[in-house]
Amino acid sequence: MKFKIAAVIFLLGLCVSGIHAMAKDAFLCMRPEENVAVTIDENKNCVFTEMRASNGALVSPQLSKEGVTYLPLRYICEAAGLTEAPAGVDMPEGSFRYNPLPDGQYVEIRSGGQYYVHKLGDYFSYDDGSGVIKTGRAVNVDGTVYIPMGYIAKLTNGQVFYNDKWKKISFLSGSLNHDDYLDAENDLRFDRRMYMEYEFYSNNLTGSTMYLATDGLDIRDLKDETAQKPRSISRSGNRLYYLNEAGTVMTKTERQPDEAVMQFYDENGNGASINAVTVFVCRNKIYGIQAESGNSGRLFQANLDGTQFVYLTNDYVYNLIMRKRDEVYYLYYCEAATKATIHMIDTRTMDNYTIELTNYSHVNVLDKIKQFVVGDRIVATIDEAGTLRVFRLDDCLEDFEIQRVWDENYLTFWTTPEGYELNNITAMNFDYTNNVLYISATTEGFSASYYYTLQNNCLKRLETSDYPITDVALFKNLGDWTFHVKIVNGGWQMNHLAYYDGNVVFEDE
């Protein structure tokens, strides 16, 4: 009798533990049709990871016409803490299986003490967790079985959240707390988003040694952590990637003494010798320009572990910048051969677009580009003669890569607001959050910084300086401030910027 009671208690214990089976900690933030998801690593830093099916193929969330998000079966089940059961055996608690049977193909799931089986293609209804009844099915998409993500979340006590503005879908496994990851708008909490070069405002265009720390608040000097003076700094999670004085690509963990040379290998495992003009990381890849002819060379790409190194261009390019718009990252660069043609790469697809900006006689308005930046409806160039030109566009380049520029929207700045000749621009950078162009220039014996906005449509002075301002870097932090970091007389000075109706002021004053 005692043995029977003990056996019952034991079995009950098994059932109870099965009903509340612990899912592994899994957070995924993704967008439909994109094959990269944001997850959180053990240090609570964001990393991008490629989404791959069990056969290694890249996959992406699919949005059905009914508005249901589908993910590959194994991908979402494993994220939810389910393990795959082999064929032909009773399925244990917390398992899933795709089972081709003589009468059809079935998806089986055992979770929460329940057994669920669905024939491929047959619709079923489920509560998505918010009380809304949805309809979905298991489907075969080009050899990969997909299933509604919300359904798996529901079965495993996980949660799914949708951010309507950016079309982002977040999945949290049952063990995670929503508030730890998502803000009130169901977007990734900003303090979890320390992975973007975007916050560094094209740091690779400057010689700045500064970087935004993972706390999202502090600007730190990487020079204090490295053997040589670093430049072209960017980050993925708490890993920093940069160039040393020789142009060697280096990497280290923030605030850790683990600086190392980054090794690159192509798809065949052959080593690639890299000496770069500029590098940055974006969306789980590292990009850069190989130093082959002055400041130009071939554009390259690799994984963050250095594997899958590949050249993206055969021709030499320069002025590589990254811009984020509507949560999508775009690379821009200029052709070295023409110095008059800008390209844009959509990092979701790696499609390369040739930008065409002409007047209404179809003549290219770009010429002899020394440096350029791209904003919302703004392209600004400094040519080889040092002349600043600003092009006001009807649309963003990401929407229309071919645009005509009306004569009144083709601005050449020959003079400063004070009336001095503007022919010695010492620095240019762009604030992508507030759509502001910054330049610094030395003219008629004094130095000054200026800015341009679409609202004002003119250069306005930000500050004057007794010494030339030879470099400008911009950072946006958690506090919604932009830091303006400039090098003056060999040293760095930093100010906080504030924006009012297209005007910029130093908040510190």
């Binding site: 699919q62 949005l63 059905s64 016409k65 589908y70 293609g121 489907v139 075969n140 998409v141 080009d142 997909y146 697809t349 790696m350 499609d351 209404y360 179809h362 929407d399 229309f400 890569e401 071919i402 005509r404």
Partner: protein, 254 residues
């Protein structure tokens, strides 16, 4: 003598006028497709499945239809048996899912390519366009370079503005040049984005850019041989329809 000459002149004029004004009834339907997908999650009105498309081809072939392309239209005679399968936007699934079926059934189709999308993700690649053109089964058509990007009402306002009309012609010419660089000859047929056009645009497209035919998205069929020289109407092929339903629509328009 003068009376004889006058009489013969009148007879000759009547013959000429009669010949010019005679337009044969040809009743050619042009079916309008967009995407043909193997992804069951992607199917919706204008994205049909590969099996649906194969059903169409098999059905019309078995019924004795002659699957032709727009460039053959001026030579069509008789009012039964010819049909055109047209595909807008130049998606890559045309090469992956449609072209193999065309080859299997020795059927023809026309695909209208957006110039600026060539070689982009999910759109036809240069080598695919070239291969299909060389097969003799696919006519490559022009769907403009970027004019598919602005909204329809903006396009219509452009087409009625003489300045912007020149931009439109330039754009269409650019797509022509992209295709010429791939296939070595200029496309002969154009599909107007959203079916939008103006009479001025149509005149310029035919006279300056030398297009033979143009198509819109207005519901209808090519009833007579004279229709070939105006923007031609088409019939949307919707996901969920059967070939029989499509054929019934054709009959209803004759």
């Amino acid at each position: 003598m003068k009376k004889i000459i006058s009489f013969l002149s009148v007879i000759a004029a009547m013959i000429i006028i009669g010949t010019v004004s005679y337009a044969a009834t040809i009743n050619v339907p042009i079916l309008c497709y967009h995407s043909v997908s193997t992804n069951p999650l992607a199917l919706e009105n204008y994205t049909i499945s590969k099996s649906e498309f194969e059903d169409d081809v098999r059905y019309f072939k078995n019924k004795g239809y002659n699957l032709i392309t727009p460039v053959e239209l001026p030579y069509v005679s008789g009012d039964y048996g010819n049909i055109i399968l047209s595909f807008d936007d130049g998606y890559e699934d045309f090469y992956k899912n449609v072209f193999p079926i065309l080859k299997e059934y020795n059927a023809k189709a026309v695909v209208y390519v957006i110039g600026s999308k060539i070689d982009k993700t999910n759109y036809l690649k240069s080598w695919q366009i070239k291969e299909m053109d060389q097969s003799g089964l696919v006519e490559i058509g022009n769907h403009t370079d970027i004019l598919h990007s602005p909204p329809k009402d903006v396009l219509i306002s452009w087409y009625n503005d003489s300045f912007m009309l020149n931009e439109a012609i330039y754009d269409i010419g650019k797509c022509n040049q992209r295709l010429y660089d791939i296939i070595g000859h200029y496309p002969q047929s154009i599909s107007y984005p959203y079916g939008a056009y103006s009479e001025s645009l149509e005149r310029l497209v035919k006279d300056e850019l030398m297009f033979l035919t143009s198509v819109t998205t207005k519901h209808g069929i090519v009833t007579s041989s004279s229709d070939v020289y105006s923007p031609m109407n088409r019939i949307y092929r919707i996901h969920g329809d059967t070939p029989k339903v499509v054929e019934q629509r054709i009959y209803n328009l004759k």
